[in-house]
Symmetry: C2
């Protein structure tokens, strides 16, 4: 059937078209031990059986919107689905659409368009064994290979050697949480993700870095009440930059609506000394004016 005829038919009945599947994948980010982690699932079935992948699933046609599908997938895979306090916990999660990925060969089974979402979550408990989410685990992003493997949608960044093959069981299945106790682990061989999920994750991380500049969403990584130094730790972890404590403190308090004082302080000082910090919670601002700009890492000196 030629394309023009397909189009003609589809104008009357879209079902006449060659089918395309729609999935929703979630890049769920959190901070554990001061380092960014992403939620991944161990694929039990081909393709990419045994590889880690972003949690996701098919959109339930006619039943749910994309946003609803993303929220459902997130709840299912974190194990928050139906547990006590799930409502309260989920209400504090930030979920936003990241982008869609639709190269024809990104899934060997058929043409699959994946709508990716980005989630900012506070530190959540590990998914429980025996639950729906038993195959899910939080991984430090530093343990993952972020070089794109599959064909990707945006801007030609050519996939360097379609690495790994389509159905290979690659790397360990254990969540590689090196240095959870603070001992800096040796650099293991980076985990390769299924499909084009490395690219999606990389896009999500870059979006997160940009987003906390002009929105108060860094607070979504923290409990309801937090201190300014804790907030600074979020920025330092996401940007992978050391920030000046004094200037950061003053800057945060100077942005209207970013944080609101609770009037109390922490019970103890820092682990290595120092006074107790005052606690705050997120204010009502949805955009930061002025923004907290990232330190200019590369600024080629302009010719004067």
């Amino acid at each position: 059937m030629d394309s023009t005829e397909q189009e003609w038919l589809a104008a009357y009945d879209p079902r006449a078209y060659t089918p395309v599947a729609v999935t929703v994948d979630v890049v769920a980010l959190t901070l554990r031990h001061g380092r960014p982690h992403v939620l991944l699932v161990d694929r039990a079935l081909p393709p990419y059986r045994g590889r880690w992948a972003l949690p996701g699933g098919f959109l339930r046609a006619g039943e749910e919107s994309l946003d609803e599908a993303a929220a459902r997938e997130f709840a299912e895979e974190t194990g928050l689905h139906g547990t006590a306090g799930a409502e309260a916990a989920l209400s504090r999660i930030h979920l936003e659409q990241l982008g869609s990925y639709g190269a024809p060969d990104r899934d060997p089974r058929m043409h699959v368009v994946s709508v990716a979402y980005l989630a900012f979550a506070p530190d959540l408990p590990d998914p429980q064994a025996g639950s729906d989410a038993a195959h899910a685990a939080w991984h430090p992003v530093t343990a993952l290979d972020l070089r794109p493997t599959g064909r990707t949608e945006t801007a030609g960044a050519p996939a360097d050697t379609h690495g790994g093959g389509v159905d290979g069981r690659t790397g360990s299945t254990e969540p590689t949480d090196a240095a959870a106790d603070g001992t800096s682990g040796t650099a293991e061989t980076p985990i390769e993700l299924a499909f084009d999920h490395a690219r999606i994750l990389a896009d999500g991380l870059e979006r997160a870095r940009a987003k906390i500049e002009y929105s108060p969403l860094a607070t979504a990584f923290l409990p309801h009440d937090f201190t300014i130094p804790e907030l600074r730790a979020v920025y330092e972890a996401v940007w992978d930059e050391k920030l000046h404590p004094g200037n950061f403190h003053r800057k945060v308090l100077s942005v209207p609506g970013f944080v609101e004082s609770t009037g109390t302080t922490t019970d103890r000082g820092g682990a290595r000394g120092g006074p107790r910090a005052r606690t705050y919670h997120a204010g009502d601002a949805r955009l930061l004016h002025p923004a907290l700009l990232r330190p200019t890492r590369s600024d080629p000196p302009p010719t004067p």
Copy 2:
């Protein structure tokens, strides 16, 4: 068939799933007579027959990526498809993904997920009668009703009365280009768009306003060579704000890589007098450092 069973089957064969259609829609923006215009097509068939809609169509399963589908739709509907110089013209168009819209009831025929793209184009000729794009026309965005009518994907903005009905022929089919000759036309009743395209267009306009702050894409609205005052007119049109000519001029020249001098000037001065302006073309910067921030329209005075 219950959802869990569907999911189980789909893990083996996604074709077992209830079908979802995928379309690609394009918000193509340009500037005509100093005002933003968007490309719309007159729907010849139900649903929303006779209404104006964003150009778009079904993704050709297995044949093209989302980016490729968007470029194809844009070329077809602008009439640039296969014309002389089409390659050169299309290469200067900026196309980026805007977002995906997938509420189950946004198309009455079936569940359709639409991946929207945003295009920045220089002033193009009107689509020719008799061509593939005969049903397409550029409309000033001020003539359109941007209030969302259909169900939308993002954040609850509740649709105010599912306006107009699904198959109503609403408003004129003539492209309403009031005041093309400078006479300020009376405010006609705003044109309502098909589907949830008002929301998509509104999202696209907001993206465009934000995008020209930190990227040099305002130049995509202009010919290859342009003057600083012409560039300022782009910012003024997109932001709907008057800018200070002198400060804007110095600011643009101070951003490395934004514009590059051609060494020549225009042939004539301005229509109402003034010296000839120097001409420039776009530089190689892909991000503006520092950015051209929008004037702070609402800045509630912070308590001192």
